[in-house]
Structures are given as C-alpha cells and as structure tokens.
Symmetry: C2
Subunit: 301 residues, 2 copies
C-alpha cells in the first residue's frame, strides 16, 4: 500500500496522545494543491506557516523548508516505487500519475508536552506531512457555480489569532455541521458583530460596479493563499479592491460573488439562502472569469 | 512499565494523525483529581462532558459513563498489578499507593475523519483516558497563597463555546506563554472587552464586604467543576455571590482573592501585578479558609 504520511520524516501513522496539537490545538496547518511533484504557491504557504508559527509561539527549525521538501520528495518517491510495483504486476492505471493532482497537507504542532498549558523550551515540534487524493467535482462548480448558505455559527473576534491557519477550528466545524443538503456547497460565516468574514473553508469576494470587495481579516478569519493571490492580480489589472467590514446585505446588490481556496481555486456563487428567505441569484461575470483564467495561467487552479 | 493510558479501551499510546481532535480541536477534555480509585466530583465532570458534547456535535455513546469507568478500572488494575511485581522484586514504595492521588484526564474527540470540516455520521468518537502523577507543590500554595499576573492575551467572545472544556485552547497557551517567572503561579485573563474572565488554568473569585464575586462565563471561559461547587457552598452558607462583568480594578478593593480548579483546589491570591505597576496585596481571609475547609470535608480538595 502506498505510504501517504510521514511524521517527523518517519513512516508513522499516529501521534502520541499527549501531542499539544491534540490537547490544545497548539499548531498550524497548510492545505496545498500538488501538481505532479510541484506544490502550488509553495513559497506563499511556507510564508503563512512561518508567520503563524511566530504568532503562536511555535519555534520552527531554521531548515523547515528543506525538511518539508524532503518529506514531500520521500512520499512522492514512495508513490512512484509503489506504482512501479503495480505495473510489474500488470495493474495499469488510466491516468498518468506523474502529472496528477493531489492534496498535500502539512501540520505542525508544538510537540509532546506534559499536562498544563506551559511548554518546556526543549520540547521539539511535531511535523506531519500527508498526501491525499484530489477531490473530484463532477458537476464542475468552477464552471457552473455553486449555491451557498448563510451560517448561524459566528466567528469570535480574536485579533491575536486572525489570519493564520491554526488548529483551533471548532467554529468552522460547527458552521459546516449546520447543513447536510448536498446541493449547498459552502456556508458563509459572519463575525459575532454581524459582519461578513469568509466561507467555512474558503474566502469570499464579490464585485459591484467593477470594484472587487472582500472582508478584512484582522479580527478573525483565515487569510487564504488564493485570496492573497487574487488581491495581487486585481492590483496588476487595475481593478479596485476594498477590504472592509460589510454586512451580508451587500451581497444583495453585488454583480458577481465567488469563494476561493487552494484546492477549489475559484467557485462562482450563483445563488444563496439569506435571512428573510431572500434568494438572490448572480450570473458568473467577467471579473470572476478573468481571475479564474489568471490563476489557471499561473498553474494555481 | 505502568500502562497509564487507554485509547478506546485499548493499550495504545497514540492517535491517528487524521483525528479530528488534532485537525480542528473537535473534542473535549476533563481533568479530574483521583483519590485512590475514586474520581472526585465524577458526576459533575461527566455532566459537563455531556453538555459540551451536545454543544459541539459530538455523539457520545449511551453507555459513556460505563465505558469511562471501565477504562479507569482497567488502568488502576494494571497499576496494582505492576506494584505487585515491584514488591515481589523487593522494590518497596514509601507511600501507600491505594490512597494516593493521581490526575485522571479524559479526552473525547469526534474521531478520525477525512480532509474537510464535514464529518460523516458513521464516524466513531475517540476516547482517551490517562493517569498521571499528581503535581507536588512543596511551597504549599493552598496554605500560603500565590502571586498572579494580569495577562495581555485576551479571550475572544464566543458564546457558542463558552463554559465548556473543548480542545480549542490556543488562547490559554498564549496567555501561559507570557511569563517564565516561577514565582508567578497563575495569570489572570480578560476578555477582548477588558472584563475579568478567569485564570489561564483556573477560575477566579474575590470577596468584598462579605460578598463573593466571580466573572460570568456566558461569553467565554471554562465553567470549572470547583467553581460550580463553590457557588453551591456559598449558597448553602448564606454567602451572597454575584456573577457579572467586572474590570480588573475591582481587585484593588477586594478583601480576599482566590483561584480554583479540580487539581489545585483553592489557592488564595496574596499578590498580583496589575497595570500601572499597582501591586495590591491581600491577606488570606475567612471566606477563603471556610471554602477550603468545605471542599476538604467533601474530599474534593
């Protein structure tokens, strides 16, 4: 069987029960699209990981880039070796694995500690690198758009943790647990003051009159890598972009709406369920399509 | 070696890396004083665990009480067996282990899931039960009192998660990481609006003019078992108790101050570092001593 996970560079499947990532969520993660052997937006993911580590007191080794790259190489080499074995036993694959997409997930925790919130400086971090199958979306939501809902679960204002991708994600879990209707592909979440923040697993953008808007993320939310890239692309193309605090009613008068993350790229939003049974619908517009094209040209989506 | 941990009733030391407790903090824990074979305030801990599970969508099995009690019995039997082996090999212990105190920690997670916040109904929870040594405090802080500090890290207002002991504890980790001075035994934390909430690992009480005060915990904080017990004892003894929103300045005019949790019992606070270098000092007063005596009489502390 293909080995798809390494823990601190070793072929392990599990972490000690006293890991501080489990005990307290003292850790970070990155979810990265892998094109063949190439992690998409690798430097941007590393940069966010390092910023997060600094902010939640996780001392990364100086050679963390190298360690993670070695882990990835090792996992890919193992996959390649397994495929060779498969072929030699006449099990052929329909796909050229060398260019296939996978999901690369990196989790860094503060390591194994005793009982209590304090951690000894001598404790080493734990590093988990795993590959999993790239999700398939047969209904092609990137082309056809999705319907979203507005979640009741709200995000607490926690400026100290805002923007980074830490392991304290109960709010996202609860928001995602609000619906089971498979026709609804994402939920939008507000902060506890009623301002738009993001989707449960994505960032949110919309346009009106040729101007792009996205919630500011200095009070809560995750500053996604694709979100960062979209902000750059908008700037390069002379599209005005405003980050701010917006109530969900702004979506009622939006021209285009979309959500994005590192795995789905950009999914246009074509419909949503808002309070008072308002059900606005949007067409997939030119700004969304331009951004999708740009990401595609950069190999990101 | 003594087996001090069971995972789902089995002798395991580690959890799969895709456990949702690790990935998202989707889980709960209880830290319980164990007197010999007797978990202190067992029913109260179970009640909080069940309330927390209901609030964060963790389906506990109907026989969770029985499962946890069996886990504990199994761990204690194993310890007993190990002690017998020790004695037979002429290694004697200075202490009567049958009445010794230990720390019992229970962690319940939503189990192992795939990538993504949604969880399949068929996924089973993971149950971790572990024993560890009871911490020793040679300076006898319960008698002599402690010095605390006021933390810069603040707690976000998250009513949906307030009160329960979930695994999203980054705020506590960051607050506890603010100081290394071993003469400071606890840090007090405020919410993001500047109101007192609790200690990093304890609940907070103070008295003034014979009236007890403690922060309300419906916006953030952990509703501790000893806190609950103290509120009951105060009621039984006709001591007025107010829960509310208080700024830290109230401590400057307090008569007595103390913190509490299930392992330390009650620690009087005799000094604190507050902003503007105010350094009030308090004596250990009669209300604190009465409450300590009551907890002691109940076998809780």
């Amino acid at each position: 069987m293909t080995q798809n996970i390494l823990i601190n560079g070793l072929s392990e499947q599990s972490l000690p029960a006293n890991d501080r990532g489990l005990a307290y969520g003292h850790g970070l993660f990155e979810t990265i699209a892998l094109n063949g052997s190439q992690p998409v937006a690798w430097q941007a993911h590393l940069a966010r990981l390092k910023e997060g580590a600094a902010r939640i007191a996780i001392p990364l080794p100086d050679n963390i880039d190298q360690l993670l790259e070695e882990d990835l190489s090792c996992l890919l080499a193992q996959q390649s070796s397994d495929r060779s074995s498969d072929k030699s036993s006449d099990i052929s694959s329909e796909q050229d694995h060398s260019v296939q997409r996978q999901v690369l997930k990196i989790t860094i925790t503060r390591g194994c500690g005793g009982r209590g919130y304090a951690v000894d400086d001598t404790v080493s971090i734990n590093r988990v690198v795993q590959l999993s199958a790239f999700p398939q979306y047969p209904d092609n939501p990137a082309e056809n758009g999705i319907v979203v809902r507005l979640c009741r679960t709200s995000l607490a204002l926690a400026p100290q943790l805002a923007g980074i991708k830490h392991l304290n994600r109960l709010e996202q879990v609860l928001a995602r647990a609000e619906w089971h209707d498979v026709s609804i592909r994402e939920g939008l979440v507000l902060d506890t003051e009623g301002f738009l923040v993001e989707g449960t697993m994505s960032n949110l953008f919309w346009s009106q009159g040729g101007v792009l808007y996205t919630p500011q993320l200095d009070r809560c939310g995750v500053n996604g890598i694709i979100r960062q890239r979209i902000i750059s692309i908008a700037s390069q193309h002379g599209i005005a972009l405003h980050q701010g605090l917006f109530t969900p009613e702004v979506l009622l008068v939006a021209d285009e709406v979309f959500v994005c993350n590192s795995i789905i790229g950009i999914w246009p939003v074509t419909g949503t369920v808002l309070p008072q049974n308002q059900r606005p619908e949007w067409l997939v517009g030119p700004i969304t399509r331009m951004l999708q094209s740009q990401l595609s040209a950069e190999g990101i989506y």
